[in-house]
């Protein structure tokens, strides 16, 4: 959408706001403190990553939705002989260090790997066929051989780790979210990225290479939706319908960072269904949380909610509903849809564009698996590597990463203030 049109829209919104001078007969909802005191923390059902099958037979969202791997490399042409020397850090609950296929890419050499736990570090070295290990990220980044690092560590460490990597002159790819609950840390990372224009930063948001989001983005860029009037994304990680013997124990995480986490601090799988489609942003939010069944907020985050649903105002004058729930048994999903002035996308496009653009995802090098999360892992890794080889912007750069992550942090603030409409910092 043209910026002039956006300005028009925003102007209309403001005018309508200012124009309604009549006094509401209803009072504004008063601020309610929703921080209670309770006993035990509640274990989290959800898991945004794909643990190895050996971890148990629980069916976990995001794990089973891989795709047919054949013909993914059809049409692939090598762009370079260069081998980028990559370091991989983190082989915890999600085992992501190895599951994006860096070790399978023809333009990558795994130079070294690291995990704080020696046994995990050893296994990561083994599964990636790498012989050099470091006991920590801080040690690994000192290796001058390494050009790029994939940070698959605990979410709260992401910004700190990314900054560390960039400061050592290396490109960085990071698992989601870009920052966990801290706007400041995200902005510090943004500054560091801006200070290093020669280095690539990419957040590996899996939804961005799901087939449906990829199609929406392609159609949006080609004008098939016009302006997006409404979008929605959801990340439901329902409790399993068959509780395993001994009870569901939740998902392990480094220093238990997942335990009690505000749902909207992990929003990128769903916010990608607006930001990743349009490259726009969210400008305001009202978010509402529902309390845990035991009413407890006695956790490290003082977070009383296990479901949060947010309504965002978007930069193109539309609205976006973003939902996160880990407390509601039922269909798990990381999905979204859009409605625009010229067409809509639900499980396919319906609209006015008669000739759709090419909707096929770019080919993967032979031998690189598409991987989990809708076959997105391999594509994300490949895009990061190509962005280095071709010296171009990666699909999910720091601005997109911030615009997918920060609105969730503000949304949780809004939920803690019982839905108060809050402004969201803008990045560009």
């Amino acid at each position: 959408m043209k910026s002039k049109e956006i300005n028009e829209l925003n102007k209309h919104v403001e005018e309508m706001k200012n124009g309604s001078t009549e006094k509401s007969i209803f009072s504004r909802r008063s601020f309610l403190s929703s921080v209670g005191v309770g006993a035990a923390t509640v274990s989290l059902w959800p898991l945004g990553c794909a643990p190895k099958a050996s971890r148990g037979s629980q069916v976990i969202a995001g794990f089973d939705d891989t795709i047919d791997e054949s013909a993914l490399s059809q049409g692939w042409l090598p762009v370079s002989d260069r081998k980028i020397k990559v370091g991989i850090v983190g082989y915890g609950a999600s085992k992501f260090g190895a599951s994006f296929g860096f070790q399978n890419h023809p333009n990558v050499t795994i130079e070294a790997v690291s995990d704080l736990f020696p046994d995990r570090c050893e296994e990561l070295a083994r599964v990636t066929g790498c012989s050099k290990t470091y006991p920590s990220l801080e040690e690994l980044v000192k290796d001058d051989n390494i050009e790029a690092v994939f940070v698959a560590t605990d979410a709260p460490s992401h910004p700190r780790h990314c900054i560390e990597v960039l400061k050592h002159g290396k490109h960085v790819a990071v698992a989601v979210p870009v920052t966990y609950g801290s706007v400041e840390e995200g902005e510090r990372l943004l500054e560091e990225v801006k200070r290093n224009p020669g280095l690539k930063f990419m957040m590996l948001e899996t939804s961005c290479f799901r087939q449906n989001l990829f199609e929406m983005r392609a159609i949006y860029k080609a004008g098939g939706f016009g302006s997006i009037v409404y979008s929605e994304g959801e990340y439901y990680h329902g409790a399993p319908l068959q509780v395993p013997p001994g009870g569901y124990q939740g998902v392990g995480s480094y220093k238990n960072w997942r335990q009690g986490g505000p749902p909207m601090w992990y929003p990128t799988h769903n916010t990608a269904y607006h930001i990743g489609v349009t490259d726009g942003s969210f400008i305001e939010v009202s978010c509402f949380g529902t309390k845990r069944e035991d009413g407890s907020s006695a956790n490290q985050y003082n977070n009383p909610f296990d479901t949060e649903v947010a309504l965002f105002r978007t930069s193109e004058g539309g609205t976006s509903r973003q939902a996160r729930s880990s407390a509601t048994p039922g269909r798990a999903s990381e999905i979204g849809r859009v409605r625009g002035t010229l067409g809509s996308y639900q499980d396919g496009y319906e609209g006015r564009m008669e000739e759709l653009p090419n909707l096929k995802r770019p080919p993967l090098p032979p031998g690189v698996p598409a991987g989990g999360h809708g076959g997105s892992h391999g594509y994300l890794m490949n895009d990061f590597i190509l962005s280095i080889l071709e010296d171009r912007k990666p699909l999910v750069d720091i601005i997109a990463a911030m615009n997918m992550t920060i609105p969730g942090i503000i949304a949780h603030q809004s939920a803690m203030r019982d839905g108060e409409l809050l402004k969201i910092p803008q990045y560009s």
Partner: protein
């Protein structure tokens, strides 16, 4: 993955030509997506949103339970042709005594298709007929509340098309008073979503405890209409989307019997001439309104209406609860589900449009009179589905300010 579908620019026009070819009148505007079901006895039905008919045999298991014939008057045979479309004339416990429409030609046709030979020139005339026990109002939405009050004041039961009130909370509340003052009379709003199979299943499972507490629900009425739909005195033109919210709000209120307590609604200004700066009869700039409701049980509900976004038309909803979720089917912890089949309707009564809901709504109204019990969508449910939308539009006009919603019980 579903195949992509192109909606061509002239599809409105083609539907229009198809319809006028069927002799439905040249005054109708583009009907490419049109939520009501024009009566087309011998004609092939065009592909119209909300038009889909039920395929099952809806009378299976039906047992006659009374010889009584409720004497009914039908009013309103406009664009939607709803007066004849709910099957009153096919019900064994109904005698259609008289019909009415303000337009003589429509009135005559209504009489013909319902096999009734008595007509009145207006509702006011029809109400003087002491022979009539119950009236179905399929009139323009802005008249619903006032006309229902008139019917009740004449000592007759009343069923009415949606919504219960159009943009006026005061009229809705006046109606509530009149209903309360006439305890022997039934009031029912014919919200079609309430007898769609999916909503019926949700309600049944909810009542059996299969969802636990509903944490989040959503309903949507995606109804693209580039040219608009014709209407009596143009009441539909540029009307605030959330003033017609019941097809979607039913997906919470009709499931749980609960209410919305507060709303923040965001509108998206439509940039066409008819909407810019709210330059229309309703001073309404929005053709899409997305509302965010807090519910009486501490949950959340997203309710959406849009008429300016093409594609994927829907009157649908889903929910997530502490014990299970519904998204097309139930997925949850409850292993033994109750009977999810909708109650049977008499042989010869078509299930009708809007997901096979029309015949079932009509039957429910008639049975509620004969059995002297509460109808499925009574005045409380009707207001709880309708009034939150009115407040939602107020919120949208204030840039999404949180507003409290009047509670009815």
């Amino acid at each position: 993955m579903k195949k992509n579908k192109i909606i061509s620019l002239d599809s409105n026009r083609r539907e229009f030509l198809k319809l006028s070819g069927l002799g439905l009148g040249a005054s109708m505007m583009g009907l490419s997506q049109f939520s009501c079901s024009p009566k087309t006895e011998e004609a092939k039905l065009p592909e119209i949103q909300g038009f889909e008919r039920s395929e099952e045999d809806p009378s299976e298991g039906w047992v006659p339970f009374s010889d009584r014939k409720v004497r009914v008057g039908l009013v309103g045979y406009g664009v939607c042709k709803f007066a004849a479309d709910f099957g009153f004339q096919n019900h064994p416990n109904v005698e259609v005594v008289a019909v009415s429409d303000l337009f003589p030609d429509r009135c005559a046709e209504l009489a013909k298709v319902t096999g009734c030979n008595k007509t009145y020139a207006s509702l006011a005339e029809l109400l003087k007929d002491d022979n009539i026990e119950a009236v179905f109002l399929a009139t323009d939405a802005p008249s619903h509340a006032k006309q229902c009050m008139e019917v009740l004041k004449h000592g007759k039961h009343v069923a009415v098309a949606v919504p219960a009130a159009f943009g006026s909370i005061e009229e809705g509340e006046e109606l509530l008073e009149v209903v309360r003052n006439n305890k022997g009379l039934k009031y029912m709003m014919f919200e079609t979503s309430c007898f769609r199979q999916d909503l019926y299943e949700m309600k049944t499972i909810y009542e059996a405890g299969g969802f636990g507490e509903v944490v989040y629900s959503e309903g949507e009425y995606w109804h693209y209409s580039a040219e608009g739909i014709d209407s009596y005195k143009k009441w539909r033109d540029q009307s605030p989307p959330q003033w017609y919210p019941t097809h979607n709000t039913a997906y919470y209120v009709g499931v749980t019997g609960g209410t919305f307590t507060e709303v923040s609604c965001l509108g998206r200004p439509n940039l066409s001439e008819k909407y810019v700066n709210g330059n229309n009869q309703y001073k309404n700039p929005f053709a899409t309104e997305i509302a965010f409701f807090k519910t009486n049980n501490g949950g959340i509900s997203r309710q959406s209406l849009s008429s300016d976004t093409p594609g994927h038309g829907a009157e649908a909803g889903r929910l997530r609860g502490t014990r299970g979720s519904y998204n097309g089917i139930y997925e949850g912890l409850e292993k033994s589900l109750p009977n999810l089949k909708r109650p049977p309707i008499p042989p010869g009564v078509p299930a009708g449009g809007h997901g096979g809901s029309h015949g079932r709504l009509m039957n429910e109204f008639i049975v509620s009179i004969i059995e002297d019990r509460k109808p499925l969508v009574d005045i409380i449910a009707a207001l709880n589905m309708t009034v939150p939308g009115i407040v939602a539009h107020q919120s949208a006009m204030k840039g999404g300010e949180w507003l409290k919603i009047p509670q009815y019980s």
